[in-house]
Subunit: 417 residues, 2 copies
Amino acid sequence: MQANIGIIGTGTVGSGVIEIIKNQKDLIKNRTGVEINIKKVCNRTIEKAKALIDESKITESYEDIINDNEIDIVLELIGGYDPAKDIIISSLKNKKHVVTANKAVIAKYGKEILEEAKNNNVSIAFEASVGASIPIIKTIKESYAPDSIQQIYGILNGTTNYILTRMEEGMSYEEALKKAQDLGFAEADPEFDVEGKDAAQKLVILAKLAFNGDLDDNIFTWGITKISKNDIRYAADLGYKIKLLAIAKQDDEIELRVHPTMIPKDHELASVNNELNAIYLIGKQTTKSMLYGKGAGKLPTATAVVADIIDIAKNKQDNLYLKETKKKDINKITSRYYLRYNVIDKPGVLAQVAKILGENNISIAAVQQKEINKDVVPVIVITHEALEENMIKAIKEIDQLEVAKEPTVLIRIEDIH
Amino acid sequence: MQANIGIIGTGTVGSGVIEIIKNQKDLIKNRTGVEINIKKVCNRTIEKAKALIDESKITESYEDIINDNEIDIVLELIGGYDPAKDIIISSLKNKKHVVTANKAVIAKYGKEILEEAKNNNVSIAFEASVGASIPIIKTIKESYAPDSIQQIYGILNGTTNYILTRMEEGMSYEEALKKAQDLGFAEADPEFDVEGKDAAQKLVILAKLAFNGDLDDNIFTWGITKISKNDIRYAADLGYKIKLLAIAKQDDEIELRVHPTMIPKDHELASVNNELNAIYLIGKQTTKSMLYGKGAGKLPTATAVVADIIDIAKNKQDNLYLKETKKKDINKITSRYYLRYNVIDKPGVLAQVAKILGENNISIAAVQQKEINKDVVPVIVITHEALEENMIKAIKEIDQLEVAKEPTVLIRIEDIH
């Protein structure tokens, strides 16, 4: 069967898609029966696109692709919200299937887009939007269709995982970020990655599929900028690693959060290092499983896009099933916590901190005072399970103590079963 | 859409399938649009099946299922070659799709079965045959359809991985096997698992799909019975772990082998412990990735079977693409090797061993003599890259030396990139 495609956007992913279709055309046809034909490619600068494909196929206007009767599948590979969302919706309205790698649009407008696809009896595919070639979307949608996923733990952002790995080796946050930028793993403005926003968008997509929840993309997100290499060292002393985890849990409500998390250092996720991504799933039937690999990059991402094209050509039908769900209030979650106070080293300080914790119903599991030859010393407290809102209140009170010299660092501890 | 199924075999997997269809029927219908109806169940002892399903649906004869006009999909869940192969072939000839968890039949008769399916325009699905609910078949066939997989490294047998994990903690092989048997991870007759035969069948299935090779199931297979806990300890001293790896590599020829393998202890596969399975793939485009999870068990395996039913109901078509391929002669592979000699501790012994290795073009990278207060001492030799046939010849010569007290233990070392 034929898949006639139009590609909008020829950046990293788009050029990778063209390369793969060129190199693997015969293999794909032999394996799957699908012959992929690139009908048109849209790029704002024709000169740039000429290096990739015959000039006769290049257009400056994406409308040429959306309105082309010969094109069955539109690839939206420009990213961002505008005009990406309009391209997707207009293509679907024109009865064209759409493949995208755009996590932002799917996280925010997923329901609207899925409904538009259903109404027009066409498909929308977005495997590349989370974890590049890690087949997590297909696994959740198809392999785990008969299972009830209960928990998702994802290392979904390569930039922050790379930075944390370097910090484990002794680099400061600033040094590690600089190195990530030098290697092209981090943007000049790293905020979207280091503040956890990229991971949050991806988590929302996975949670929608796993829990069939009509979830918005406004979730609790903390980044890694306040983690010091000392925290990483102290965590290691206690048998933990710190990872930026994207966590989703299904109960009566859906719990969604992205934040630096201490996990036992012998857990499978703890050995996912550098720029790699992994998703750890806990299913009712399948119990535990993990998918691991490159979460970004030209050819890994483009491979996922091409696999989506093949699926669509083979007539795989989509189903829209999202039900109303309630997101859990972050204040109502419970967790164990790592706290690092920086306090003046004088008698009675720990008693003041302990009193505040006790008044807020937080019980202490362990205390360690680190270096003792300075005026200001870090004190590490590990708590038993406590309520988030109590913890946030306690920290506010502690940070107002006269002996507190810097804001308390808080890291949630997750015992993944 | 409706999927009317007949289930042949109600052992662990079959009863799991019935349980999942019962519990998840609505969820599956909402998510995928597929309504699964169990039309008939075949069990030789009706009394046993009555605990699972309404008596009116039970038959003692599988022919009743193969010939039932109302049944679209036959589940072959009895395992083994006979009558499983006949059930599969007859069902396909009767234009019924088939889902099976039977690795033996697919590894040995895969080509014939795939051709029969194609000729009758029906599907054969076997996700559960390798790695239970780890979606490795789907990943290779669909997600990696546009990629060229170059290497596969699998921990495909839970029994042996469980035994090796316990041996790392200091148990002897016999103690670990006993414990595995007590826990139900190993059969009373463990040969099929511990000699690597189970892993070999699974590897053949993966290699057929990944390389589209028309491969038979006769591959080089060594088990774990000759590994001692000392070898595991010596390997650890050198920075390695020992795993029963199933290895497939694509070059001009296809290299297929299952044997105990030393891998760097910080490699992702080294942290796959206990009864868990994992498959590490190296693709031209996707570079490295790993899928990890429960490789056996009632509900994980049954989940994979039910996912296959859904795929078939959604009209996913199969393609048969197997090309003639040449299997690499095991004698022609190269590897680094760990050798443990048990020799009488007297002057000149190492010189004799080193001479034989040198004469066979094998160069030594490192030597360690372990305990020195005994008459017979273990000597560990790590070699540089050498040709397998040279190594086997050298070991024969060494084992004939008068100072050799026990057969040399050989473990291949794999540097997975």
